[in-house]
Symmetry: C2
Subunit: 270 residues, 2 copies
């Protein structure tokens, strides 16, 4: 286990004690928000960005609490220190209600085999729309079911398709596709405002690539209208897609890997 | 507190120990199902129906577990016995994953003032569609937010309206409306298959009332096309609606109260 401890409302506790009562109504209803943050070389990467998004998630679902971002920052650092975390994935969870609770826990840093980046990953589409896509909340059953469905077919990620047939995002990633040299991704109001998504856009612009905020249609992706696809997430940076619903895309994924490299560089400069 | 104990995977524990780890992925994703059952005179009302629906909810989201309905029945009775419960609301929660967990807890029986039945309750519509409406799962943020929005306006319940403008159901109730002597409610595939909803339909038929499975449009309700409205739930039986978005409906709610009376009678005969 990476962490022996956790933080509850600012107090260091044993991780085993980081629990919620099953009789808590807010737990039952998933009235909660969260963020996952990479710790690299003992530093929480882009923490301020994650806390800003946590604020937005709380505002979006009217979850009031009195935890300040300064406190949350201190608590993340306290957990890093008490468990001497060098590389880890830290999760901040805020549960709402009359007596809001904040938990900070740590898990091993997620990293993927090099082959995923060289060869790309297998994906499958899944029809479904998230409630309040710009908020990270405990309302995640669609994401869970979509990912399970993709895994049953041997996939690594599921891509969520809305009623208009557009691919908006993955279950734990944002989605990007190249077409005639331009980079397409869903408009910001329709998807999670990924901290890494912002970095991907910046990296693309830095490389002289135009970014178009239009959601690719699943049928156009399957018919080969796009020539290089990838997903982005805190844990993945930018990861090439090998196939969507069996339609495969040949590597080398040069442009994706250039963006991936840039995103990882920025993590260390933060 | 009504209950000092709870049951976890068949074992009687202190209620305070009925907790879930915040690091449990299935807890984080709301990959769970539940049922709430009224205990009256020490007997769990319509328990077999509730367990049948729990099965359907688990099947619907592909949640596998090995708890049999015989076991669940025994565990509910064990909790009733150990805490000498006479009147209570018992909740069965099943959390999925590699190591599924089942919790049975009890809370005070919910009952409402007589005035709610005499005068009806204030409701407000809320636009939003539930994921897999026929399953009772931990994916309840829409219900939570809709109910909070109604409460902020002084309402007792929120009525969920889909993209077609139809009122499908309440956040914790089914919805019914009379028009020219016929009783209208949403088609079964669009809503939660309420255990009490079934009883309401039976009671209506017993009273010679035709039941039409068509969802009333919110605009038709607001314009007065329907003349008596009510919501139904395990905790409410059938409760008249005084107003929807400020459009009020005059009592006495004779037909609703006749149905309510019949539903409560059947609870004792179970």
């Amino acid at each position: 286990m990476v962490a022996e401890h956790a933080v509850r409302n600012g107090v260091i506790i044993k991780e085993a004690d980081a629990t919620l009562s099953v009789t808590n109504r807010e737990v039952q209803f998933g009235f909660s928000t969260y963020e996952s943050i990479r710790v690299i070389k003992g530093r929480p990467v882009h923490l301020a960005d994650h806390l800003r998004r946590l604020d937005k998630s709380c505002e979006g679902i009217f979850l009031s609490h009195s935890f300040t971002n300064e406190e949350l920052t201190n608590w993340v650092h306290a957990l890093i220190q008490v468990d001497s975390l060098v590389e880890a994935s830290v999760r901040i969870l805020v549960v709402g209600g009359k007596d809001p609770q904040c938990f900070i826990t740590a898990a091993p840093l997620i990293s993927y085999p090099d082959s995923y980046y060289r060869e790309g990953v297998v994906t499958f589409t899944y029809e479904g729309e998230r409630l309040m896509p710009s908020c990270k909340t405990g309302n995640l059953l669609l994401n869970y079911m979509a990912l399970e469905a993709a895994r049953r077919q041997g996939g690594f990620e599921a891509l969520l398709v809305n009623r208009e047939g557009e691919i908006l995002e993955g279950t734990r990633s944002n989605f990007f596709a190249f077409r005639e040299g331009k980079l397409y991704t869903a408009p910001s109001e329709k998807v999670l405002l990924g901290v890494t998504r912002d970095r991907v856009v910046q990296a693309a612009l830095k490389n002289g690539i135009e970014v178009v905020y239009e959601s690719p249609l699943a049928k156009d992706v399957r018919s080969g209208l796009y020539d290089e696809l990838f997903i982005s997430a805190t844990s993945m940076a930018a990861m090439p897609i090998y196939s969507v619903d069996g339609k495969s895309f040949a590597g080398p994924f040069t442009r994706t890997l250039a963006i991936c490299h840039q995103v990882r560089e920025w993590e260390l400069e933060d």
